[in-house]
């Protein structure tokens, strides 16, 4: 019993967990990759009935996006010429560090990745995919590993903007890879399919990371705000690698006010 109490001392706890992750990493990484492979193989088979409808929907979206891309291409050229005119250097949006996912917390929406304090990873850094899709945020750092709290963690909430109107909202994790959006003003029109991006408002994430899309809107005459269920763009099942934004993003980690109320209870 005394040994267990001692293992709750933060420094000792981190050292023990880091050592255990390090020792089990070779097996664990293979299990994760195997799990991702099996999931990616069976997932389409299990959802075969939904594929036709989804395919049709995606075709429509591809056409929309192609039109948007053409418009963006023109804007990009214009932007580049303006920057050259103003003698500004094009900067990378983020300094990214690639990390392999090696496991997941047995209960909570927390991933374990193989980059830690030795790789300049710090608590509070945003974690994204190569497509600038939001994964979550570094919540605990060990020497060689880190824990990434997913956006769906039930103790996690952050500000977002919805759709073209850029309506403000607050994403709240529900646990079990699910999240909802809340506190959307009633005068703003939100509907299924609208995309959700992070907002710099709460100082938790940099602006413009894709969170997901609205899947179902809940409206109630009594409530002051609207809420909705969201479908996250990042799918843990099948994911193998993520990027940790270690710097050069619009908001410094020092100013961030993360709302993980009690990560460890």
């Amino acid at each position: 019993m005394a040994a267990i109490l001692v293992l709750n001392v933060p420094i000792l706890n981190s050292a023990v967990k880091n050592a255990a992750y390090w020792a089990l990493n070779p097996i664990q990484k293979n299990f994760w990759v195997a799990g991702a492979g099996v999931h990616n193989f069976f997932s389409p088979l299990m959802q075969a009935n939904l594929l036709a409808a989804e395919n049709e929907q995606l075709r429509g979206r591809v056409n929309d996006l192609l039109a948007q891309t053409a418009a963006i291409g023109d804007l990009k050229k214009e932007n580049e010429s303006l920057r050259q005119g103003l003698n500004l250097e094009m900067e990378k949006d983020f300094d990214l560090k690639l990390a392999d996912i090696v496991g997941k917390n047995t209960a909570r929406d927390i991933l374990i990745v193989d980059k830690g304090a030795k790789d300049t990873v710090r608590t509070g850094m945003p974690v994204i995919t190569g497509q600038k899709t939001l994964v979550g945020r570094v919540s605990k750092v060990y020497d060689n590993f880190s824990e990434v709290t997913l956006a769906t963690n039930k103790d996690f909430s952050f500000d977002v903007k919805i759709g073209d109107d850029a309506a403000d909202g607050l994403v709240k994790g529900q646990g079990g890879y699910r999240a909802t959006i809340d506190l959307v003003p009633k005068d703003k029109k939100i509907e299924a399919g609208q995309s959700i991006i992070t907002s710099a408002l709460g100082g938790i994430f940099p602006q413009g990371l894709l969170v997901g899309t609205i899947s179902e809107v809940y409206k109630n005459d009594v409530e002051t705000f609207q809420s909705a269920q969201i479908e996250l763009a990042f799918n843990v099942a099948g994911a193998r690698q993520v990027f940790i934004a270690i710097g050069k993003y619009p908001l410094g980690t020092e100013t961030c006010t993360m709302q993980i109320m009690q990560n460890e209870r």
Partner: protein, 99 residues
């Protein structure tokens, strides 16, 4: 052997099994690849042997490594589970004997 098996199960749970959701995920927290074998060992081992307690402690330690709860939560949980199983079997289960 039991330690190795339970360590492997804990890694399997954190690495492989977390890709899948079966009827939601909440129950996976409690019934998983470590707690289930620990309970099975407690049920089927001989009354006078102590492998169940040993499995509860070692399995609990491995689960605690992959848990955001305080360290020792799963050890205590599995010890209580093992105690309940053993008490239940001793008190209410009579294994038929013919000799």
């Amino acid at each position: 052997m039991t330690i190795l098996f339970l360590a492997l199960m804990a890694v399997f749970q954190a690495g492989f099994a977390s890709h899948f959701t079966v009827f939601g995920v909440w129950w996976f927290e409690w019934v998983n690849f470590v707690t289930a074998p620990a309970a099975i060992i407690a049920v089927f081992e001989h009354r006078r042997r102590n492998l169940g307690w040993f499995a509860a402690i070692s399995g609990g330690l491995f689960l605690d490594i992959y848990s955001a709860r305080f360290f020792g939560f799963w050890v205590i949980f599995l010890l209580i589970l093992t105690a309940l199983v053993k008490f239940g079997i001793k008190k209410y289960v009579r294994i038929p004997s013919y000799w």
